[in-house]
Symmetry: T
Subunit: 68 residues, 12 copies
């Protein structure tokens, strides 16, 4: 068995609706340029407020993918 | 450009349905008395259990608003 | 009033749909064998990725219950 | 059931005798102006030294109270 | 010399009087069912407030005991 | 000697020039409405970027003042 | 696909030789009574000293296993 | 409104003069190859000493930029 | 006004009775050899267990004193 | 002297034998594509378990290299 | 090549003007009695307030030096 | 039984071969001048890289010894 090496990058996904959707958006966007993604870790949850309501949910994730 | 100063306060929102809704509830309640809120940061997620099910989702947020 | 003592255990719930559902799944499963659960604390949020999409949301919770 | 919202404030209580008394002093003082306090969390324990002895125990607590 | 293995469990002790007593209560209760306990670590100190006074001191401890 | 009680509030100061100036701006602004401030703690340093240069230094401070 | 639930327990392994061996010892001992262990996380590394030399390496690990 | 996605990278800037200048140097250098940078977060401050004086201030920053 | 410089050292005090007494013991012992101590910070609270009861409370403190 | 700027990336190395070897594997793999690497920081140690034994040691490292 | 061993000590430097100057003051003072200092790490930034203005910037640094 | 007091100092051991050996080197060196050392805690693991390979493993330990 090979000794795999992985790289982690840090992304911030956003969504007007929920933390879960913001997370999914970050992963989907990353998939356009990165292969072999296998896991993510949530490292921060924040958001923007406008007119007294949550305007945007923001989730910072570390995404791990295997280095080929 | 003025050197803005912001204040952060810490709130706990609750919801029987989800962490996202608990977060939104905290912001909405704060909007009744605070103006110029521009961002929030999630600092803790907890909850209450009753009869073996989640009864309440609780999210602690720090809310930042511009001091006039 | 008795001086209650509580125990905390650490569980990881999973869900293909959201962090909130993953949390609820962990609590529901624990309820099959543990009584008197009263609160939980989220300590980690991660997930698995497959084919460039989130395949599984994973939430680590500490669950507190009263020791009888 | 209403979706309660709570606010947390941060106080530092002091006592020449013990950490427990410093904590109690902070809560008692807050009770003069705040209603509906329901819990506190210790976030820091420090103290002042004079003439080679502890002169003052200092406990920083976050106090949570329900917003009416 | 054997290579001992220890297990840690997490308990919350309570007391109406002090953090120290809350800690002692958690250990005493654990002693009813666990043998070979050798150390503990304080991981959190909180409490409940009622009528503007501390009603209960709560101390979360991790207790280590040798696995036989 | 009285058992003093202190309150801490959290502010974000900004400056186009340095972290130190951003800190000083937060304190100066707070002095307009708060008396008896005696110490501050830096809890976060961030900033805004525009056109590839730092546009604003931002320092979050917790400011402690004696409750009268 | 079922929504698996995992439990984490905290163990301390020891070894006179290395941190890696202390980790392996904790896992091996746990395997005598726990099935379905799938991962571990190192949370603390300490040790005992005697006569000016390391006498024992100690590694605290959280071990995750699937709840059946 | 599009659901923007951001990436964060981690840089260490250096300066013989101050932490603020070290921070600015990291941002300026990054601007040579990265567009759309909008914020940074300080995550570590260190430095090198030579001949009993500070020779170099080092600031680790996480820089966020919008993914196009 | 001189620009004072302070040094911090880390001590562990012990007591069979309480965390507060363990803290006081560490400070008293340090006073035998260190002058100008002005403050301390609690950084860890642990203890030893024997026969199912707390045998020793242990408090790690950082003690600050002015360098002459 | 130039004001050097460094970049940090986050890698996960794996090894069936030890944490040290997992660390070395991550660095060696990175060396295939990155020049001027000068230091690394261990940020997490985990592992996979199979059949009651450690199957893989995993070390997450932040690797720093000078930006040319 | 010898296997060097380093010691770290913790100092607090102060300055009426800036965090950077407070840091430099701590290092300069330490140089009077310690040789071979090679690096420092900032671990805390605080300050004193008087009359509504920052009176003193305080920086806690850990200083590393080679043990001869 | 006397109420023992302990002091902790912070050392960095190095080794070209492994984290375990770097730890042991720090303890051995300290033993030349310090008596009554009884435990250590690993607080940081880093290393130096040269020519694309790990050149030096570095382990920061806090070493505790009884004050006589």
């Amino acid at each position: 068995m090979a000794n795999n090496v992985y790289k982690k990058i840090e992304l911030v996904g956003t969504s007007p609706n929920s933390f879960t959707e913001a997370t999914a958006n970050a992963i989907s966007r990353a998939a356009q340029t990165i292969r072999n993604m296998t896991w993510f870790e949530v490292v921060e949850q924040r958001g923007a407020i406008a007119d007294g309501e949550v305007r945007e949910y923001q989730v910072t994730v570390r995404v791990g993918f295997r280095v080929e």
